[in-house]
Amino acid sequence: MSVKVLIPTPLQKFTKDQAAIECDGGTITELLDSLEQNFPGIKARLCDDQGELRRFVNFYVNSEDIRFLDGKQTSLSEGDEVSIVPAVAGG
């Protein structure tokens, strides 16, 4: 299952400055493992010691926050776009 992953600037040093990459995974959990295989060290930036997503990291699948879907178990389909976005201020 190949999906497109948008990488935020703070993590682009892991991806050789690429802002978008192709990666495999049937769920977000699987995608995280696959990212780690391809770009060692990246998972520890996204997840805490218990393996949970850090609280200031947002994951979106096709523009929808995974907290409105099935969280880390959200399933992915061929061609989906996954966006990793740090929390930002606003208004």
Partner: protein, 437 residues
Amino acid sequence: MTQAIQAPTQSAVSSGATFTALKCKECGTEYELKATHVCEFCFGPLEVTYDYSKLSQTVTRETIQAGPNSIWRYRPFLPVETNTPIDLGTGMTPLVQANRLARRLGLKRLFIKNDAVNMPTLSFKDRVVSVALTRARELGFSTVSCASTGNLANSTAAIAAHAGLDCCVFIPADLEAGKILGTLIYGPTVMAVQGNYDQVNRLCCEVANSHGWGFVNINLRPYYSEGSKTLGYEVAEQLGWQLPDHIVAPLASGSLFGKIYKGFQEFIKVGLVDEKAVRFSGAQAEGCSPIAQAFREGRDFVTPVKPNTIAKSIAIGNPADGVYAVDIARKTNGNIESVTDAEIIDGIKLLAETEGIFTETAGGTTIAVLKKLVEAGKIDPEETTVTYITGNGLKTQEAVQGYIGEPLTIEPKLDSFERALERSHTLGRLEWQQVLV
């Protein structure tokens, strides 16, 4: 009021700079003072740190009072190097003693910090944008941008125009007409995104990854958000160098709340005011109240929601600083409450009718929450309470249309006037009777 901006011949007055680094609020990792906002290790937000011993030695009440009548009187507490910041007269808005509203609510000493008349675009956002764009210029950006619920777009476009910076702003497509017009007039590129603010924000993060622009609330966020501290400083100075007992402020991302708190703490730290425990209470609209829900349920995390409220300027379903706002309300013995859209409209009317201040929906939310907290006994009538009004009602006229009556149309004749006057009195009495019933 507008003062010409001189070429920044002394753009880096490092010897006078009082800010020292960017530091992660979560893990404490420090970073250089560049355009970056997220910790590379834990994704926590970065915050500006200062040399407080230097501030204690160089800043006094007198040096502040001798400064400009704008936020830049507090320049040593703001993260810019230049001696010639972008100054459109932003800040030093009135702190109004609200006696009629206080009597109506049953409070003894209530003040309104009125940023509905902030310059140049009539919201508190002019504070943060003045700081962000001054810093953007120092960091060498020629294009600035933002994701906005309206007020920030107005402010970024206006101040960019004044500073001669290119500007591209992103807003949800369904914003109030006044907020769209109030951005377009300054000539920026406006992207109206078919989605809610949280979707606009996400898109902007993706754009920021690939375009070298200065996004005021993304890669410039650590500098930008510091501008809100001036809402704390000004209230302290305007109360005669004292802190209030209780403040009530609107919560959108939660950033403003934390920066007012930081402002008070910094003034205590450098000896400008006496130490005092100030209670912090926050206001949200029920149709977008993720922070109020987390507070109510005793959680230390905020679950995002899909906004559905007329209070669009504070309709952030995924608030970045929500957990910090919850923390501050708890540790200061404050509260976070939410109110319905109907209560928000009543709040706008109540402030207008008692104090002559026309605020937008965020202000209506804050006044309605103030009322709710007083009625629930959560604000002591003896407390000196300051309520922050952060935006202007002329920008969100749609919200109150249909709730404020119509003019009485008359012929240019005396008897027509007399008949209409009699009718208006009768209408008034009927309304009064309805209220009593």
